[in-house]
């Protein structure tokens, strides 16, 4: 929604439009996604720990074979996706709490997004590569 669109024909006051949107300017969506990804990881933690235990003491060939199997790849992909999203939101909250300079805050939030996305994509790429066996 563009800014002009909302200011043109709205009976809502400027205060009413921003009320409850919070420091992230996105309302409660981050709060909800933080819980959603948290519950997801709570459910996934036991399968993930089992996978880690399966890999203990194995060499690269053995580890690659296990990580490339379909159910294990799916479990890890779900866990990586949920953790990247969860940690992105969590770190953003920390930044919003402690970084008060507006420019530095925006730069930190941007860096946080880059970091979380990079970790998620790198891990995802590794698992897909192991699954395709190249």
């Amino acid at each position: 929604m563009s800014a002009t669109e909302t200011t043109k024909r709205s009976m809502r006051t400027p205060l009413g439009r921003v009320h409850n949107l919070g420091a992230a300017h996105s309302g409660t969506s981050d709060f909800w996604r933080q819980r959603l990804t948290g519950v997801a990881m709570t459910l996934l933690i036991i399968p993930v720990l089992v996978v880690v235990m399966m890999l203990i003491g194995r060499n690269q060939a053995g580890a690659a074979q296990i990580l490339g199997s379909l159910p294990i790849a799916v479990i890890l992909l779900l866990f990586i996706f949920a953790s990247a999203w969860h940690m992105k939101i969590g770190m953003q909250v920390v930044i919003e709490d402690y970084v008060h300079s507006e420019k530095l805050k925006l730069a930190s939030i941007m860096l946080n997004n880059f970091f979380s996305i990079a970790v998620a994509l790198a891990s995802t790429y590794a698992i897909l590569k192991l699954s395709s066996g190249v």
């Binding site: 819980r35 948290g38 519950v39 990881m41 709570t42 933690i45 720990l49 235990m53 203990i56 003491g57 060499n59 690269q60 060939a61 580890a63 690659a64 990580l67 890890l76 990586i80 953790s83 990247a84 940690m87 969590g90 770190m91 920390v94 970790v119 790198a122 891990s123 790429y125 590794a126 698992i127 590569k129 192991l130």
Partner: protein, 132 residues
């Protein structure tokens, strides 16, 4: 430039008496931050497994070293503590556990449970063969 208006400030951490739930709130955030950077280890491990034996041997050399093992042990505790402390937050989100004895019990549960789960995981890992 307009002069900065002196507004009343809300009191920060240092004016409050330290309570268990307050300390564990700080620990929850600290473990979250540690886990954030700890994902680099997870990514490194997966990329190494996908890259080949040479890259994977570097990871194994790290996890086999004393400092590496200490970091992974710390990572395990941070993960288990943050998990249980997070479950405690889910209970509060649902509106339960706010009575004094309940919130203390939940908080002690997260603290002791996190340590117990960490030790359990490492005992199982060593039993499987992580000590090799």
């Amino acid at each position: 430039m307009t002069a900065r208006i002196e507004r009343p400030l809300s009191p920060h951490l240092q004016v409050y008496r330290v309570t268990l739930t307050m300390a564990l709130s700080v620990v929850h955030r600290a473990t979250g931050i540690a886990l954030y950077f700890g994902t680099l280890l997870l990514a490194w491990w997966l990329i190494a497994a996908a890259s080949g034996p040479a890259a994977y041997s570097h990871v194994q050399a790290f996890t086999g070293s004393f400092i590496g093992r200490l970091i992974v042990f710390g990572y395990t505790w941070a993960l288990m503590h943050h998990l249980l402390s997070g479950i405690r937050h889910f209970v509060w989100d649902l509106g339960y556990g706010f009575k004094a004895n309940e919130r203390e019990a939940l908080t002690w549960g997260a603290l002791l449970g996190g340590i117990a789960l960490t030790l359990l995981i490492w005992i199982i890992a060593y039993a499987i063969g992580g000590g090799r």
